[in-house]
């Protein structure tokens, strides 16, 4: 079987940092790691970092139901170009991913994609928040991550029961929450504060998120079950999770790239490309997100990749749907904007989310012989300018158009197959 050698790179994984070539065997596994190796074909990694592939816990792939905005295939291609080898589909499709039939469809569509596609399942039927979805039936198909993302589970009793029930399912499933009190947040289209007041745009207070974080921490204590907080965006949310972890509660959390790079002041343009949920917050919140990433209170960076068509985003600010693209910019934004060693950035983009999702038998593994060859080769000094017109995503709603970034994906290998070579998608 033909082998590929990744030559001249610096290997960074959860075990450390060393200069080594990596030989990938035809079986999709790493065959050898060391100096001066050779193979049938060569991928140049001179000046580059070789890392386990990135893992995204938060991708809206829009299939089924909104294929005009994204499909599993286009989303997976965008992911591969962004350095991801594993993405997790969110369940707010039309219909929602809330039973075995849709789970099968999504997994089937993902099988031929240039990135491993896992799917989450909804916690409640239709994500409506009033009846427990068949978690066991979905778990039997391999679903390990449940959320009503796009909305939180507002009913505390239902959430408690979901947590208790999930703890009895095999394979250690995890419940995740989009924290937003729907009544307190009702009618809000941006962060409530100085800018919403000035711009005349109805706001939603930070407390709408924090109330549900607080409640779910209480439920985690009550039930002793793991909970993962999705896209936390406020300083107090992060502080609560920090304290909860210190007291030993089994909680994890993610933040998005836009919550450490953009603030609510962007909404002054009234451009709905800056409308997102949770909304862009204050400078102090951005600083807290960065601090949480630095001190490890925040486990991982997720994209909340949320494609929308041009026509959907050409509405008035308060009528446009929330969401921004993320898969093709997340790594570069993290490398450019975070004042962290690259190993820490990669930990939060690769092996930490892999562990949370429970895919750490195939993703985020140390670069060592015998391990699945899900790898990304990153040129950390390459500079480029974001141009959404060049994206593989079917949508263009990136708030970063025109922004200069440093750090770019050179190659991505999925189970040994180079799906991205020199920044070009191979399929």
């Amino acid at each position: 079987m033909p082998t590929t050698v990744i030559k001249g790179g610096r290997v960074i994984d959860s075990t450390g940092d060393r200069v080594a070539d990596v030989v990938v065997g035809g079986d999709g596994r790493i065959a050898a790691v060391g100096p001066d190796l050779s193979g049938d074909s060569v991928l140049d990694a001179g000046g580059c970092v070789v890392s386990p592939g990135l893992v995204d816990l938060h991708s809206h792939l829009r299939q089924p139901g909104q294929e005009e905005a994204e499909t599993i295939e286009t989303g997976a291609r965008a992911a591969a170009l962004g350095g991801y080898t594993c993405i997790l589909a969110m369940p707010n499709t039309i219909p929602a991913i809330d039973h075995a039939g849709i789970v099968r469809e999504v997994l089937e569509l993902g099988r031929t994609a240039p990135c491993d596609v896992h799917t989450s399942g909804a916690i409640t039927v239709g994500r409506k928040g009033d009846q427990l979805a068949p978690l066991g039936e979905m778990a039997a198909l391999g679903v390990r991550f449940f959320t009503d993302d796009g909305a939180g589970v507002a009913d505390a009793r239902l959430m408690r029961r979901a947590m208790e029930y999930a703890s009895g399912l095999p394979n250690g499933v995890i419940l995740a929450q989009h924290c937003e009190d729907p009544v307190l947040a009702s009618g809000g289209h941006m962060h409530e504060g100085e800018w919403s007041a000035r711009l005349g745009i109805p706001g939603q207070p930070a407390e709408a998120e924090e109330l549900m974080v607080m409640r779910d921490l209480a439920l985690a204590r009550l039930t002793g079950t793991r909970v993962h907080f999705q896209h936390l965006s406020t300083a107090r949310s992060i502080e609560m999770v920090r304290l909860a972890k210190a007291t030993g509660l089994p909680v994890t959390c993610e933040v998005t790239t836009h919550h450490f790079t953009l603030t609510h002041a962007e909404c002054a343009s009234y451009d709905p490309v800056f409308k997102v949920n949770p909304p862009l917050r204050t400078d102090a919140d951005v600083a807290a997100v960065r601090a949480g990433l630095a001190d490890g209170s925040i486990d991982c960076i997720a994209t909340d990749h949320a494609p929308h068509t041009q026509e959907a985003k050409e509405a008035a600010f308060d009528q446009a749907p929330p969401g921004m693209l993320g898969l093709e910019t997340a790594l570069a934004l993290a490398l450019t904007e975070l004042d962290l060693p690259i190993a820490q950035v990669l930990a939060r983009l690769s092996w930490q989310p892999a562990r949370i999702l429970g895919v750490d038998d195939e993703h985020g593994l140390p670069v060592a012989p015998g391990h699945a060859a899900n790898l990304v080769v990153i040129d950390p000094t390459a500079t480029w300018t974001v141009d959404p017109a060049t994206f593989a995503s079917r949508s263009r709603n990136s708030p970063y158009a025109g922004r200069a970034l440093t750090g770019r994906v050179r190659h991505t290998l999925l189970h040994g197959e180079p799906v991205v070579i020199d920044g070009e998608a191979q399929r």
Binding site: G193, A197, G200, I201, Y270, E314, A316, D318
Partner: protein, 324 residues
Amino acid sequence: MKHLLSMADLDRADIEQLHRLTDSFAEVSKRSIPKVPALRGKNVVWLFYEDSTRTRLSFEQAAKRLSADTMTFSVGSSSVKKGESLRDTVLTIEAMGVDAIVVRHGSAGVPWQIARWLDDRVHVGNAGDGWHEHPTQALLDSYTIREERGALDGMHIGIVGDVKHSRVARSDVLAYTALGAEVTLVAPPTLLPPSLEGWPVKVSHHLDDVLPSLDVVGLLRMQQERMTEHLVPSLREYTARYGLTLRRVDAMRHDALVMHPGPMNRGVEISAEVADLPRSVIIDQVRNGVATRMAVLFLLLGQGADKVLGPDDVTEPELQEVIG
């Protein structure tokens, strides 16, 4: 002036220039034939996504007195009902060859989006966007105060009522403070914006405390639906605490003005007797609205159109040439 989007884009000199122009157009309005050919051949479209009688009629009257041609895009009977997007509507209107679009929309920011989509090729006037701004109202309000009492410098102006949801309040605050007045917002905390950071205003929750020191009391319309949002317990309680009644007028300075952008809820934010007092200049506001909008349309489309707005942009001889 390219667009009139926000009072924040106008400084004191700009506002004073507009007021002087308004003086001239007020004079035109008093003539036996109140019409000048200043905007002959110019075409203005009223793009009103929200019901509005007074503002649209006022703009219409202003445009007619300047001899502009006007078209009304009425949402109720249009392609919007067939699902046309805002952007397509705007591009369609532009393609028909218009010089200015005056827009009112229930969503904040729409005038900015329109200006961006049209790449600034067409002048855009903001006739009210959501809770955000209503700049011509602020121009006519400040003009009315100036007409009645002279310069606003050092005046104390109270804006009373539902500031949170009021585009009039946001524009008035900018205009009044730019002209040197001190502004106090008077409302229960539920009817104030969630943050007043950066607003050059004082705040009071007690009308009776503030009333004796005010030169102008600007009332805002209190809407019935605020009850269902738990913002005030009842209109009765609102009126008891914030309604301008004859009893409260006794506490006002003898020369203090009463203003209201209309439409009034007599018996709620203002009692019928107060609305009809000589100190109430509500009808003058409406009258001045026409001359103000003439000045705005003239600066958008007339001789001042190609210039950056400034006090010397339209010289007296130029103006005389236009208005005869």
